[in-house]
Subunit: 362 residues, 2 copies
């Protein structure tokens, strides 16, 4: 369920109130530069238009839109960062065209409908934070018919990879269980309290923490054991709130280029700036968070460790389905369930069992 | 103000639901051992008595009380850890005498009044977490007249110390400010956005983070430049909720044993198990978190860095007052304000200004 607003402010919005955090995002130039290109190379789309920036943060996207010639920009921000955005806009002589409004998108009023909605709403593995909800809310309420969403499309990918992190996690898990044994022994000898009965519960808790949690990583392309596959794409002009809030279920098929083992899936996303059908962009811009030899964006990739390792032969395919569900106690966090098997003519594939893995994206 | 219960569960209670965290506390044997001694060396006080354990966690203190001969122990725990406590109590054959009740202390009912309340409620710098509120609530509602609190007394201390951490923090702060300069330059050259106007705001934010935040530390006694002084003590039998919730204001005087500089105050606490006036303990036990050459408890000490360093001469005294106030947006976190000057016959002392420092305990 949705958190009460006060909890949401304490847990979600709070970090966005710090310049430090806004700076982290701004200096991810692959990110900020992509938005800059998407606006500046499509100046013709922005000239004379009314724009809404959902979650303006430091005000940067509103500033880009105004620089590109927008007649009016509404820059909505939930946190106290709104005051700094206003200051920045003032210092850059754009106060006459940008109006900063502090409040959640769900609660504010705008005096007119808008031609373009721009927003940087993407979280880890695209969906974490569920901020896209607020963007769709804004679209349904304030976007003129035929208006354009920036970005307009989003896609989710999986790739089979090999990473040291999987073994490291297993090693840490085993260390934690050894620590527990020593602890149980101590509690008995120091206080005469027998804690054996909690062995299984501790094992399960630690297993969840070490083996069933996805992790941020900067994956190098050489770690990929086959090309990524897109398992889900969204058109932000037509995606409904209902579809977004429902569990995402999709199947995937991954080609393997080498014989050997894969011990993780890497998940990542891209977004495209293509404008709307009625107002297409003049130049399409792509912001990708795929593994990149020059280093990752601040989103990195999400890795989903596989225990045990999956053995494959060149030409085999990993075939499966993935489910992404919002957590019941916090709609901004996700649970991911991946079911897969190896298909192909190889002996390994023929003997490959169906495997089920569960993960948290915290 | 007090958080709504849902926010409090999301932010405060959540960590206590993990065995991992309970284990961390249990294996702090200076802590657990002190409670064990306090109960076992005062068996005569526990025999045949009714005991309430406020925040039983794993159930450990309830188990100690039952082992010491308590007739009945009520073990109250807000989180799902209650189920593991029940399991542990069952495995140690004490289910007939310990009743685990899941719920917040403020919301549960007990079928009878109790002779003893035992609880491990102390947070960093004693007061962080404000869990003592729940213990006083339990006392006022459920403790028989003349009943005893375990622990019965608590004291807060300050000591003047020297630590590398203060310079390190200053260094990190300067690094953050240099990073900001480079960032402002980049934003201008990449996107033509002038961010100078936020220099002061960023400086202030980072100053708060690096220089006005107290930090956990394991202080070695040799770092102390003079003996600690107790600036506040609490008798848990008579302390009122009103006094506890009000800002704590106290003055202190610290003797300096050496000439040289001090660049931090170390704050720590101890608690005593002395029983009540009507039911005094047979053996007093002390649980201290003072700097210790054999290493600290899991509470460590809280250090309050001093910028700039305070220069002193042997025989001078640091004289001042300290205020500890609950944060308005979260009553479990604290702000600390320390005002001090150096007094004495030395030239340094004669020229010493009055200094004001503010800190967060996060
Ligand atoms: N429902 C909502 N209403 C208003 N602001 C929101 C919101 N959900 C998230 N935000 C804000 O949206 C911002 C997302 S981060 C992106 C900031 C800025 N647009 C940039 O590109 O650099 C955060 O500052 C967050 O506080
Ligand atoms: N108001 C309240 N009601 C019930 N439990 C509370 C509470 N405030 C804190 N707690 C619980 O109190 C515990 C404090 S930690 C101490 C645990 C245990 N007594 C031990 O000594 O090892 C946590 O498990 C926390 O969840």
């Amino acid at each position: 369920g949705q958190a009460p607003e006060k909890t949401d402010f304490a847990n979600y919005f709070c970090t966005y109130g710090y310049l430090y955090h806004q700076k982290d995002m701004l200096e991810d130039h692959k990110r900020t530069g992509a938005y800059y290109q998407a606006v500046m190379q499509n100046r013709r789309q922005f000239e004379g238009k009314v724009v809404l920036d959902v979650g303006t943060g430091s005000g940067i996207l509103a500033i880009f839109a105004a620089k590109a010639g927008a007649r009016k920009v509404y820059a909505v921000e939930a946190t106290s960062m709104a005051a700094f955005a206003a200051k920045l806009i003032e210092a850059n002589q754009l106060s006459d065209r940008i109006k900063v409004i502090q409040g959640t998108m769900e609660s504010v009023q705008l005096p007119e409908k808008v031609d373009i909605i721009i927003s940087e709403w993407m979280g880890y593995f695209l969906l974490r934070e569920s901020m896209l909800d607020s963007v769709l809310f804004a679209r349904d309420r304030f976007l003129k018919p035929g208006g354009a969403m920036y970005p307009s499309h989003a896609r989710l990918y999986l790739a089979p990879i090999r990473t040291q992190a999987t073994q490291q996690r297993l090693h840490d898990f085993q260390g934690a269980m050894q620590g527990w044994s020593a602890f149980v022994h101590e509690m008995d000898s120091y206080y005469g309290v027998d804690m054996h009965c909690l062995n299984d519960a501790f094992h399960q808790e630690q297993r969840g923490y070490y083996l069933s949690t996805s992790a941020w990583a900067d994956v190098h392309p050489s770690q990929m054991q086959g090309p990524p596959t897109c398992f889900k794409s969204y058109d932000l002009h037509t995606l409904t709130m209902e579809e977004l809030a429902a569990p995402l279920k999709a199947s995937f098929r991954l080609d393997l280029m080498d014989s050997g083992s894969i011990n993780s899936f890497a998940g990542f996303f891209d977004v495209q700036f293509r404008g709307s059908q009625q107002n297409p962009a003049d130049f399409d811009v792509l912001l990708s968070t795929a593994p990149d030899p020059t280093g990752c964006t601040h989103w990195g990739q999400q890795t989903f460790p596989l225990h045990p390792t999956v053995e494959c032969t060149r030409g085999d395919q990993v075939v499966g389905d993935i489910t992404v569900v919002r957590r019941k106690d916090n709609h901004r966090l996700m649970e991911v369930h991946i079911r897969h098997t190896v298909e192909g003519a190889s002996l390994v594939a023929l003997q490959s069992p169906q495997r089920d893995s569960h993960y948290h994206i915290e």
